[in-house]
């Protein structure tokens, strides 16, 4: 390999709550569009719920946001941002593409397997092929990485990034990278907010799939009663129950975190559109997030104390079912308000 000169693009590194919305926000801000992370999240209809089981995972799980990549596409479609995207079968070409963009002073975002991001604490690292980050420079054998979950600009060995970009398995990123080539300076944000809200309501209430949206939360509340029979042993069950806490609290901001971010979006949207009704909805969404957090803490305690009686599971199931009711009412009301905006 030819020796590359060290360089750092003047990119403002910041932590964000979530990697995809944060990465997109960072790139848009760098391109001169001062949108907040909650705005990016809301405009791209980031809020969702999905309960699923797949052969790729050893246990059923849930996600509480829209499908990875949809925030990029949502922002692109609703704000007119044009992203250049590429995948590279050849790993060397994939790495050369990053170097070529850095030479032009362009920060470039990549999708990676979280597991190889060795600047993060060991307990955070899990095989997950949907982690987004931005490469903003290079130094010796390392890339300089702006990762929303890292307090500082991180250094990552080229080999680790290569492994992270080509991990194989489900949803292999295959060297996927993207960067904005056109960022409109005065997009119609009001219209984008309206579309984002309407699409979020549709996704939560009307997608005809039982695993998704409010139906997905109800499915989760039923299926959790089957979890004790699916675990290898008590420790495994404890781990899976405590993962509810991970998914709701920490990893990728979690369900509670996403609900708090969506509440912040609605607050900002109410100010932008001068719509007091959205302010009230933002307060309601904050309370919905608080209830998710209570579920998360309840599950964590259950898991830690190995408290797996049927009554406990029944109570957990009922708490989740109540969340389904609360979110159904919330998004029904929000959909009604969205028609008047």
């Amino acid at each position: 390999m030819n020796k590359m000169n060290d360089l750092v693009i003047p990119f403002e590194h910041r932590m964000f709550a979530h990697c995809e919305s944060g990465t997109v926000t960072g790139l848009l801000n760098h391109g001169g569009l001062p949108l907040t992370e909650p705005m990016v999240f809301g405009i791209s209809s980031g809020i969702l719920f999905l309960y699923f089981k797949t052969p790729a995972l050893p246990f059923p799980t849930f996600v509480v946001r829209n499908f990875p990549g949809q925030m990029i596409r949502g922002v692109s479609r609703r704000l007119g941002v044009k992203f250049s995207t590429a995948k590279y079968r050849d790993q060397k070409k994939g790495e050369d593409a990053i170097d070529a963009l850095l030479d032009k002073g362009i920060p470039v975002a990549c999708r990676t397997d979280f597991y190889y991001m060795d600047y993060l604490p060991a307990y955070m690292r899990a095989h997950f092929n949907f982690h987004y980050l931005t490469i903003v420079g290079r130094k010796g054998s390392k890339f300089l990485v702006s990762d929303c979950y890292s307090t500082e600009l991180a250094e990552l060995e080229r080999e680790s990034l290569r492994k992270g970009r080509y991990p194989g398995g489900s949803f292999d990123p295959r060297g996927f990278l993207f960067y904005p080539v056109r960022v409109p300076q005065n997009p119609d944000i009001d219209a984008a907010i309206r579309k984002g809200i309407k699409a979020a309501c549709f996704n939560m209430l009307r997608l005809p799939v039982k695993q998704v949206g409010v139906k997905g939360i109800r499915l989760f509340s039923k299926k959790i009663m089957e979890w004790p029979g699916m675990a290898r042993n008590e420790d495994h069950l404890s781990h899976e129950i405590m993962k509810i806490n991970i998914l709701l609290e920490d990893q990728g901001t979690g369900g509670a975190g996403y609900r708090f971010m969506y509440a912040t979006f609605l607050r900002q949207a109410s100010e932008k559109l001068n719509a007091p009704a959205l302010r009230e909805m933002s307060e309601r969404m904050m309370l919905v997030g608080d209830d998710w957090r209570r579920i998360s803490i309840y599950a964590a305690r259950m898991g830690k104390n190995h408290d797996f009686g049927e009554t406990k599971f029944r109570e957990l199931s009922e708490k989740i079912a109540r969340q389904a009711d609360a979110e159904e009412k919330f998004f029904t009301d929000l959909a009604r308000i969205a028609k008047t905006l």
């Binding site: 932590m15 964000f16 709550a17 597991y115 307990y123 095989h127 979950y149 194989g168 781990h239 920490d250």
Partner: protein
């Protein structure tokens, strides 16, 4: 969530961003420690240790292979592991048995080590010591199959 309820203080908790209701009623982000790490990370590591002990025992008795150990630790299924290593599920199943493990090529072993992000030798040995405070580190060489095991302290 109110800012005061979201705040998690304490060293060794990684920082994360949360959106909260601030004291003045505005909604904005704060950086705070992780509730999960502060309260439950020890439990997480205890469980990993139990899995490690269980499967090292099985490996020792010829009932499992290191592939099985890492697969369990990393919570990968046979299907997912096969996709990551780039081989068939049938082969992964074979490599989970001591007899099948012996027949693996070095190239495949190296690919498994890459997926688990460990030195290749870790798939053929476990380092055990009664001394505490030792720093044990596998130092890479230009030969991807050869490491220096540095034991210091």
């Amino acid at each position: 969530m109110k800012e005061k309820d979201a705040r998690v203080e304490g060293k060794d908790t990684h920082q994360l961003v949360m959106y909260v209701e601030k004291d003045d009623g505005s909604y904005d982000s704060i950086m705070t420690g992780s509730y999960l790490v502060k309260n439950y990370v020890d439990d997480f590591w205890d469980k990993k240790k139990k899995i490690e002990d269980e499967f090292l025992g099985k490996i020792k008795n010829g009932e499992a292979t290191p592939i099985m150990l890492y697969m369990m630790l990393e919570e990968l299924t046979e299907v997912e592991l096969a996709g990551r290593v780039g081989i068939s599920v049938r082969k992964v199943k074979k490599h989970l048995t001591p007899e099948g493990f012996e027949t693996m090529t070095l190239r495949t072993l190296k690919r498994y080590a890459e997926v688990f992000d460990v030195p290749v030798v870790n798939l053929m040995q476990a380092v055990v010591t009664k001394k505490s405070g030792l720093q044990i580190r596998a130092e890479k060489t230009k030969n991807p199959l050869f490491y220096f095991l540095r034991i210091e302290g």
